[in-house]
């Protein structure tokens, strides 16, 4: 029996064998929660990887299907008592599938997504077109003739974007205010930059208030996370190297406000050892602000917090955002049930697998409704988009914000 995996970067068999099949990951897995099937659970997927490594299964269409259905949320890593690093196993297996497996189901769609999201300029152009389409009333027409029903993915995208903000440029350097604590680079991200430009502005401002000089390189590009998760390791490696090179090497931190990007960047060293020093400097903005003093004024708000997968599970940052929000005088933080269960966004997953993504969204929104909070904070643009659109469609009057937006408003409240 020879392994179905080939080549030097096959999934690490020792890592696979660390799984003792206890199943503690099952209820934390979004696809298991929706489907209730073993092969769409982390334990089942690891078992399939093991079977492939032992030559018991081929990298077949079915094999690929069950791995494709994984959202890559890594909730299973948080749950796993044996410390199996599922994320890296998944990336490696997907890379194997790219090279040796059958073609993906959504090839064209995926290609479209990958040509769009990692390229801020193209995404910007697409969004400009979208604005035009919206303004011209074409949207109503398209909906009316049911085109969207024929193409569920386009429908998903249409639903996601309600109003598309115009992104203004950020300066290349924001000086620190008050006592200087250090220098931080800021990743502006692809989606964040286009869809949530205010989050980047608030991030830069808060970092400056916290005492950091903020460096924002213009040609920074994409972190490559989407490609890594899809098994496109060569494209990912190229992007990672370009990104790392675009930041000066003397920064204290490279700060992100998009959990997915931060999680990928912190792990650059796994595949690209030369990027380990860069990866070691990556921090989520929340981690940096948690250690800083901010002049926070009163905000009488009830807020609930959704754990972005790649912050809670990918980066293990769970308490800091809650503590930060609780620091705001007047702000009442109510816990969200299943707060760390994926909302279904997962990079481009909601475009590729709208069915499962919708069920997860449904669950998430039901939990949000239970809290009674009108504000939901989440530290990842994908989550913000997905949950906001879900609430809108279901008529739940809830506003989605990045925690830095609340912190920035609290700072405003302090100064006014």
């Amino acid at each position: 029996m020879t392994s179905a995996f080939r080549g030097p970067d096959a999934p690490d068999v020792e890592e696979i064998r660390k799984c003792v099949h206890c199943g503690i990951c099952l209820p934390t897995c979004p696809t298991y929660r929706v489907l209730g099937e073993e092969m769409d659970s982390p334990r089942g997927r690891i078992y399939l990887m093991r079977a492939a490594a032992e030559g018991r299964v081929e990298l077949s269409e079915t094999f690929r299907r069950h791995l494709d259905l994984c959202l890559g949320c890594r909730a299973c890593e948080t749950a796993c008592p044996s410390g199996v690093r599922f994320g890296s196993l998944l990336e490696a297996t997907r890379a194997q599938l790219r090279r040796h497996g059958p073609p993906p189901k959504h090839r064209l769609l995926e290609a479209f997504a990958f040509s769009l999201f990692p390229e801020p300029a193209r995404l910007g152009a697409a969004l400009a077109a979208f604005r035009l389409y919206r303004a011209s009333g074409l949207r109503a027409l398209v909906r009316a003739i049911g085109v969207l029903r024929l193409a569920p993915t386009l429908a998903a995208m249409d639903a996601l974007l309600d109003e598309v903000p115009r992104a203004g440029p950020l300066p290349e350097l924001v000086p620190a205010r008050g006592r200087v604590r250090g220098r931080a680079g800021l990743l502006t991200g692809c989606v964040q930059r286009q869809l949530y430009p205010q989050v980047n502005r608030d991030t830069a401002r808060l970092l400056a208030i916290a005492g950091y000089e903020v460096v924002i390189p213009t040609g920074q590009g994409c972190c490559g996370a989407l490609e890594l998760h899809a098994g496109l390791v060569d494209a990912y490696s190229a992007r990672a190297r370009t990104l790392a090179a675009s930041f000066p090497s003397d920064l204290d931190f490279v700060v992100t406000n998009a959990a997915g990007c931060g999680s990928a960047m912190k792990e650059y060293g796994n595949r690209l050892p030369e990027l380990a020093p860069f990866a070691g400097r990556v921090r989520d903005v929340i981690e940096v602000l948690a250690g800083a003093e901010l002049p926070l004024g009163r905000l009488d708000l009830t807020v609930t917090y959704h754990d972005a997968c790649h912050l809670a599970h990918g980066q293990r940052v769970r308490q800091e955002p809650r503590e930060l929000l609780r620091r705001i005088p007047g702000l009442k933080l109510v816990e969200l049930g299943d707060s760390d269960l994926c909302c279904g966004s997962a990079g481009v997953y909601n475009l590729l697998e709208p069915g499962i993504a919708d069920e997860l969204l449904e669950l998430k929104i039901a939990r949000i409704a239970e809290t009674g909070a009108r504000l939901v904070a989440a530290a990842n643009p994908g989550c913000l988009l997905q949950i906001a659109s879900g609430c809108r469609q279901r008529g739940l009057d809830v506003t989605l914000v990045h925690p830095v937006e609340l912190l920035a408003r609290a700072v405003d409240a302090h100064t006014s």
């Binding site: 206890c22 503690i24 209730g36 073993e38 092969m39």
Partner: protein, 481 residues
């Protein structure tokens, strides 16, 4: 024997294409429960959502004498939820609803696929909990708990699953959905609920469970006591029980286990101890305070290195988190292990621990221990590397020897994990032919064709157990004309 095309078509008619796992890859992942030593993939997996679908599936299979294997979350440790003879596996994971919570009568009715902990979470705000807490409670299903009559750390005080099950809906091997027991206690007739709990799917498929809910205790105190020798810890356990206390839980972990857990959870277990006792007392505050002082005193008297009381709920949760994840954390020690579940009378705990250490040394195997010391329920994990056949043999030999030692002390083969495929062969250590024959006959009343989870729970024997028919007692000579 592969399933007939008509059977598959009929199954698909019952549960729909989305409720049927037919692919090779899909079936493969159902070949084992947590005990991956045993493998046997079903020919198909059906995922029903309603009782009437289960009834229809069982009737179909009965007509063609196709084996049926029920499965919950697949966290069993006994090779129970796997299909050594192929056939149809019924995954109950999509029957996971809470059907009713009846707080005035302190009970709830749930579907079998509901995860144990989810029930407690649903009633916690009202001050109630579901007592059975197997270490897998964050994933194991209530149907699975019922099937194996699962225990858990807190069964020392609260009893095991059977003590909390009021009623069942059971689809028997003849495809009848019967209601056994219910919210009201003391039903006239045989206690079929009692005998069905722990029948490991050999009587049928449980499709609904009515369970008792308990009011959460006023106070809980968790004490961690560490010892330089495992014998001292064992003596302390016996002394606590003998002193007339029934702690909610009384758990022991040995050095190797402490290390593995600390690596995983950072649970703050003392690093230099040879054994740790986790003692939990709950109940009215005044009782808990008095008894926890007494328990701590006993630990000091038995030479404890350190006795500390969890300061708050967070620390308490952390101490327990490490304990609950122990079985998983073993992955950090060795890739594979044999797990014992034997029980000895609690007064024999110090003796069996000495014996266990000797057996480990004799067979040159590492044995990690994490177990329910208060009930005398051992869980030695005999570590081996499955790529080393010689080490596996030594592990097996140590395992058998240990089991025999427990039985010789008046113990039992399995305290809470169940029998399954793994321990069926060991039952004759504990039961005579007459006893086994009686059990076969019970099974036959529920499942005349032996299609329900065949090969599990009872040792296989030619002629389906008839071979266990015992000789009748001799009637005195001369009684007959």
């Amino acid at each position: 024997m592969p399933l007939s095309r008509t059977l598959l078509a009929d199954l698909e008619r019952i549960v729909g294409a989305g409720g049927l796992v037919r692919s090779y890859e899909g079936r493969l992942v159902y070949e084992s429960d947590m005990h991956t030593f045993y493998k046997g993939a079903p020919d198909v997996v059906a995922l029903p959502t309603r009782t009437d679908q289960v009834v229809a599936i069982v009737r179909l299979c009965r007509a063609e004498r196709v084996p049926i294997v029920p499965r919950g979350s697949g966290t069993g440790l006994i090779g129970g939820a796997m299909a050594p003879q192929g056939g149809v596996m019924i995954g109950l994971n999509r029957m996971d609803k809470i059907l009713e919570i009846d707080l005035p009568n302190r009970c709830a009715t749930v579907q079998p696929g509901l995860i144990n902990l989810f029930l407690t979470q649903a009633v916690a705000n009202s001050g109630y909990f579901f007592a059975p807490d197997p270490s897998s409670q964050m994933v194991s299903s209530i149907g699975g708990n019922v099937s194996t009559n699962a225990g858990g750390p807190h069964c020392l005080k609260y009893g095991i699953t059977t003590n909390h099950v009021l009623g069942l809906e059971l689809v028997t091997g003849t495809g009848e959905a019967v209601r056994l027991g219910g919210k009201v206690v003391d039903r006239p007739g045989y206690d079929l609920t009692g005998i069905a709990v722990g029948s490991e799917g050999t009587f049928g498929i449980v499709t609904a469970v009515t369970v008792r809910l308990l009011h959460a205790p006023e106070a809980v105190r968790t004490i961690l006591a560490s010892f330089v020798a495992i014998e001292d810890a064992s003596e302390a356990v016996s002394a606590i029980i003998a002193a007339g206390m029934i702690p909610a839980a009384l758990e022991m972990l040995d050095e190797m286990m402490i290390r593995a857990i600390n690596e995983g959870s950072n649970a703050g277990y003392p690093k230099d101890a040879a054994a740790v006792l986790l003692i939990e007392l709950d109940g009215p505050l005044a009782e808990v305070m008095a008894q926890s002082e007494r328990a701590a005193q006993i630990c000091w008297e038995r030479g404890a290195l350190e006795v500390r009381v969890a300061r708050d709920d967070a620390e308490r949760a952390l101490l327990w988190k490490g304990r609950k994840e122990a079985a998983g954390a073993v992955g950090r020690l060795a890739p594979t292990y044999l797990l014992q579940d034997a029980v000895v009378p609690r007064s024999k705990l110090p003796t069996i621990m000495r014996e266990l250490i000797a057996i480990g040394a004799r067979h040159r195997v590492r044995i990690a221990n994490v177990f329910h010391a208060g009930d005398g329920n051992l869980h030695p994990l005999i570590l081996y590397d499955d790529r080393d056949p010689e080490e596996l043999e030594r592990a097996k030999a140590a395992n058998e020897e240990l089991l025999n030692a427990c039985i010789a002390m008046g113990g039992t083969v399995t305290g809470e994990h169940g029998v399954g495929l793994d321990k069926a062969k060991n039952l004759p250590l504990q039961y005579a032919d007459a006893d086994l024959n009686f059990m076969y006959r019970l099974r036959r009343a529920f499942d005349p064709e032996t299609i329900m989870n065949p090969g599990k729970l009872l040792p296989s024997h030619p002629a389906c157990g008839e071979g266990f028919r015992p000789a009748r007692p001799r009637v005195p000579d001369g009684a007959w004309i």
